[in-house]
Symmetry: C2
Subunit: 361 residues, 2 copies
């Protein structure tokens, strides 16, 4: 369990070789399938790691906030889709970005937002379609909703790209490749249906953008699709293992957490790793037990007997077997695989600078 | 629902008058009870708000990381307890702080850590006692564990303060003042028992420090206690309402969230407010429904019919009644009361600078 600590607090450790392998695999798949890869950088929000995407030929990215678009534009990215419905108060900041030469894609979920984007005249327009996830967008088969959402497109300049976009987030509820591929097939069928309807309404053929890490990891073909937007695949995590998108050998982000207490009487270690580092994103096992991370042993294998069972703001409890507890001392380092790498990033990679560290496996 | 937005993205709104009233109430209670108030600043991590504590006579604070100690020392705080068990790798940073004149209290959960703090010679020593919460510390009635933890104290300079410290976090599982007061009475009895044992072992009378917002908000007397360390009371939140620590009129932190989508067909709004802003800390209602925040209406009252039922990384879904959905437009601002104000702070107050805004009610 004990490792030499890289820094004094909990530390994100990115395995560059694994991340680059994950990126190369997805880039090759996209090329073979004849679709563009526009990866979502919300997972890492790191210009360094985005550079590894560029090394595989990626030239366009997806972000989930205007803040992120501004940050990546400052690092030379000039083709960016903001893949959440536009917050109207952020339109002026978007305009400044395009004034700086960024080709910006904005997303509309409501007719008023679509009209606003068309009227502003500087951005590509993506209409958000709900293919069954039930979060944002207009349902693929809601004829009235689609008609209202598409109406403003009549005034859209031909110089602006126009498309329909979905996130089949229901794939996160799937277990195994059969279920994921069922979600994939169903959502592509629904997008094909929406594409026909939208093309007729707009009198213009829309591009089609899809993307979520489970379907993009497991499927090989994307019929009717122009671009894919997976994000998490760069790192993967316990949630993706649970779905079946990857193996433990693909996980490229861990958090090295110092032991600060040993409670052999209760069967747990106290780690310097809390909700602000790992996030409260949880998995629930087959026995109904909730956990927030899993330890990785010296051989790099996940150890299901060592799981984070509770998270306070700055520290957490790692359930561990007696042999581990007997040997543990404050100062030991436990390497943790997180449940959801995107939210780990928010505590460590993105904001606090407690990382940037990259290792090679 | 609609308000003039303060900034373009989700925005923390601190009600200074309410926060100052919450602080004054706790400060008065501590004075009346004859205990010191050493508030936990992890809730806000804001030197500005810590200044409001100082205005009520507070001179000592509690933090939950060395990072936080360094940040507050830079703002003139010179009496700081780091109330998580010391991470041994951070001892050198702690020493630098004391070299700068900070009176620093460090916490030990294990004998090796206690020996390290004593040997370092520059900090006050607090021994962590578990009064039933089952997280960190040695159980109040574990004679062997206490003997091992106290042993290094023989070498502690009399110039260094010495005490026992607990966090009765089990109060967070209580509902209503009767249950909270039962936890309070029980934990003080257990601390009294530990105090007698530790005094005999150390041949020195320990100080006694306790603190959690539920018991400190509801109880008026703290027999046998030297200092209290509540933190959340400055803002309060939905979790504290659920416990019974406060009323909705005491909540001093909200997040103003722009509407970015309207899904009348599914009964929800899409808000620009995600897990990075509100955290995935949840409450579960009596029907078993999970929620992450609740809307506040124009009159400042919580509206249980408008609750955040799902959070993605950067956006969330607000369940809302048909009348609200019919009137909603992208760009409207919904004021949200968070489940756990301390973790909101981490997304907005602490790291990203999307706030600092303070209003008056």
């Amino acid at each position: 369990m004990s490792r030499a600590p890289i820094r004094s607090g909990p530390t994100v450790v990115v395995d560059e070789a694994r991340a680059r392998a994950n990126i190369a695999r997805m880039a090759n798949k996209a090329r073979a399938a004849g679709v563009s890869l526009r990866p979502h950088v919300k997972t890492h929000r790191s210009p360094t790691i985005a550079g590894w995407l560029r090394d595989e030929g990626v030239e366009a990215i997806t972000v989930s906030s205007v803040d992120m678009a501004v940050a990546f534009a400052a690092h030379g990215w000039s083709d960016i889709t903001v893949a959440v419905p536009l917050n109207p108060h952020e339109l002026p900041r978007c305009e400044m970005l395009t004034a700086d030469g960024v080709k910006l894609g904005l997303l509309a979920d409501c007719p008023s937002t679509a009209a606003m984007i068309v009227g502003a005249g500087f951005a590509d327009l993506w209409l958000k379609i709900d293919c069954g996830y039930g979060r944002a967008g207009v349902r693929w088969n809601d004829a009235e909703g689609l008609a209202a959402l598409v109406a403003p497109v009549a005034a859209l300049s031909q110089k602006r790209a126009f498309g329909i976009l979905t996130h089949a987030g229901q794939s996160y509820g799937a277990k195994g490749s059969v279920e994921v591929l069922r979600v994939h097939r169903e959502s592509l069928e629904r997008m094909a249906e929406a594409r026909v309807a939208v093309a007729a309404l707009a009198e213009r053929e829309p591009l089609v953008s899809v993307g979520d890490t489970p379907t993009c990891s497991i499927a090989d073909a994307f019929p009717g699709v122009d671009e894919i937007r997976p994000g998490n695949f760069v790192f993967y995590d316990l949630m993706q293992i649970d779905i079946g998108s990857c193996t433990e050998q693909d996980i490229a982000l861990h958090v090295d957490c110092p032991v600060v207490g040993v409670r052999a009487d209760l069967g747990h270690l106290v780690l310097h790793a809390g909700a602000v580092h790992l996030s409260k994103e949880a998995l629930v096992d087959e026995q109904g037990a909730t956990f927030y991370g899993m330890a990785v042993n010296e051989e790099g294998r996940l150890d299901p007997e060592q799981r984070i069972i509770s998270l306070s703001q700055e520290h957490g409890l790692l359930k561990a077997p007696p042999s581990v507890l007997a040997a543990a001392q404050p100062g030991d380092i436990v390497r943790i695989a997180p449940v959801h790498a995107c939210l780990v990033g928010d505590g460590l990679l993105g904001d606090q600078g407690n990382s940037g560290v990259t290792g090679n496996s």
